[in-house]
């Protein structure tokens, strides 16, 4: 397969597309929070794969990590700022968690929408590099080596980003599970009672946000405490 891709065999790309279009599409959605943008990113990814075909290593396994890496770069260019991602995510989350009019609407579907909304809210709480690693490792099930190759970063970086992201996700789900804290609270709404609850729990996750430049965190959790 790799040889045929390198040689620019169109039928190889047809096969690639049939096999991986869905994975690339889903990965792109996790990075853009928008199904229609995800479709664009998916299409651009395969075009880009064609252009970069000569760089494919002749040896190796599945080309899925390679395609997901290209998709990550393409999605990154769609959303240069995290702010834009968060806007898209909250819009999509709101749309998904809206309760349908029909009472006979199956409960499973409603539940699915809520869970998708929760996933987007969680992804939006991450920094972009963390979100990319989460999407690759948890969303698409790549191992650390494959994710590192896809992103062009060291394996250790993938591991540390993922563990930081996990901690944030934990804190978030703990905060959402806490009594009195309603998950889809609009930004800026006072909700003083639940704020207190959420903050209390967030305290535990605080080092995660402060890790950058904070090399003495073991005994100095407030070293970068200016953030």
């Amino acid at each position: 397969m790799r040889t045929r891709v390198r040689a620019g065999d169109p039928s190889a790309f047809a096969e690639l597309f049939d096999t991986y279009a869905r994975a690339v599409y889903n990965h792109a959605f996790r990075l853009t929070a928008d199904w229609s943008t995800a479709e664009d990113v998916m299409a651009a990814t395969f075009m880009e794969a064609w252009r970069l075909r000569a760089r494919v290593d002749p040896e190796g396994g599945s080309l899925r990590p390679w395609l997901l890496g290209i998709a990550t770069n393409t999605a990154r260019n769609q959303y240069r700022s995290n702010r834009r991602y968060r806007r898209a995510a909250s819009a999509a989350a709101a749309a998904e968690s809206a309760v349908p009019d029909h009472a006979e609407e199956v409960a499973a579907r409603v539940d699915g929408g809520r869970r998708l909304a929760a996933a987007l809210t969680a992804l939006a709480a991450l920094r972009r590099p963390e979100r990319e690693v989460v999407a690759l490792c948890l969303g698409e099930g790549l191992d650390y080596e494959a994710a590192a190759a896809a992103l062009g970063v060291p394996v250790g970086t993938v591991a540390s980003r993922l563990s930081r992201a996990r901690r944030k996700l934990r804190a978030l789900s703990a905060a959402q599970a806490a009594p009195g804290a309603r998950p889809p609270r609009p930004a800026g709404a006072p909700a003083a009672a639940s704020r207190k609850e959420v903050r209390g729990i967030r305290e535990g996750a605080r080092p995660a946000r402060q890790t950058r430049g904070d090399h003495t965190h073991a005994i100095r959790p407030a070293q970068e405490g200016n953030r």
Partner: protein, 371 residues
């Protein structure tokens, strides 16, 4: 979906992968075929044009223009890929010792002479420091104004690349922080932390849209101004707010006060009270000689963290008892990977160079404003 990543417990993987379970779905009906046909048509088109170029027959103007269309979408990812490659190359080149981030020179580690510690004279020294602090006359920060702190800082840390852990450090460099009185706006310029020389904004809300609420670990001026200046009450507050953090409650209380000394500009009454509070923490010692990040020698008030074998030292001018800076020194031998931090290693050091109240972010104080 085959969401199984090695090196994680199944339960952990399930829990996080479960979160994303609803983010997978098929393309809308017909779109798979549509995009596939589009891709194949484009590939054929590109192949044809390449053959034409190689054959020395340039395509007509219309065709050339059509081929240019996808370029922007193609160039940007290529640029990003190039950048990523450059970053990887940088890390590899520096594998021998330093780190290439933010333009801070790096070295294998900072070391110092370990000063002799004594528990004698601690209350007396802290009392003198407290009196000097009370006389310092810190200015009031009005709403809309900013606290500016400029420091010289350096640190040593363990870095793991490709399974090998080595000692690395950021050499002394300038760090500047601005924070509004209410703590909601700020800016940090620290080449060891920031990617760009412009620094980064600390203005919030954070990723979750929450407006920051000041606490002991990220205090705003307004928060500090509202704290009690009674040492016993203040100490009780510190223990309460930092419960569960750090290695021991006493060490965490000491560190919390140290952080307030270093990068904030508390009102003089509180500033003075901080030292009287520190005098009540068990295990505080006096170190006869310590040098700050700017090379100034002084006497230090310190406390040893038994868990990490590191001693946090607050350095004061020997005569005026003015706070110069603080540092964390490895004084005991560690085991395991941590043993790379040998006794005498300066884990962190920061000298306060300027503190002032300014009217805008990025504004630096004039000589008369400095405190």
């Amino acid at each position: 979906m085959n969401a199984s990543t090695p090196r994680q417990s199944p339960a952990e993987g399930d829990q996080d992968a479960e979160l994303l379970s609803r983010t997978a779905r098929d393309l809308p009906t017909g779109r798979h075929q549509f995009h596939k046909e589009h891709l194949m048509a484009r590939i054929q088109q590109l192949q044809t044009s390449q053959q034409e170029e190689h054959g020395g027959r340039p395509g007509g103007p219309a065709r050339t223009r059509r081929l240019r269309l996808p370029r922007p979408a193609v160039t940007l990812p290529a640029l990003a890929a190039g950048l990523a490659a450059a970053v990887v190359a940088g890390v590899v080149v520096n594998d021998g010792g330093g780190v290439a981030d933010g333009g801070v020179a790096t070295g294998p580690g900072l070391t110092t002479e370990i000063g002799a510690a004594s528990s004698e004279g601690v209350p007396q020294l802290l009392d003198r420091i407290s009196l000097a602090a009370a006389a310092s006359g810190h200015p009031t920060v009005e709403p809309g104004q900013y606290v500016y702190v400029e420091s010289r800082t350096a640190d040593t840390f363990l870095r793991t690349v490709g399974g090998t852990t080595t000692l690395a450090s950021h050499e002394p460099h300038r760090r500047q922080v601005w924070r509004s009185a209410d703590g909601t706006k700020g800016r940090l310029v620290d080449p060891a932390v920031n990617d760009s020389a412009e620094g980064e904004t600390l203005s919030l809300p954070d990723e979750r849209g929450n407006t920051p609420v000041a606490d002991l670990n990220s205090p705003s001026y307004d928060y500090l101004a509202g704290l009690t200046t009674d040492p016993d009450k203040l100490l009780a507050t510190i223990y309460k707010e930092t419960r569960g953090m750090g290695n021991t409650p006493d060490q965490q209380a000491f560190t919390t006060i140290g952080d307030l000394l270093g990068e904030s500009y508390p009102p003089a009454e509180l500033y003075s009270a901080l030292f009287r509070t520190a005098a009540k923490i068990p295990g505080v010692v006096v170190v006869d000689d310590a040098v700050d990040a700017a090379g100034r020698h002084g006497v230090a008030v310190a406390r040893l963290d038994e868990a990490s074998g590191q001693r946090e030292e607050w350095i004061f001018d020997r005569k005026t008892h003015v706070f110069l800076g603080e540092r964390v020194v490895q004084v005991k031998r560690n085991t395991g990977t941590e043993a790379l931090l040998k006794p005498g290693t300066v884990v962190f050091t920061s000298a306060v160079l300027k503190r002032a109240v300014v009217n805008g972010i990025k504004e630096t104080p004039t000589a008369s404003q400095e405190g």
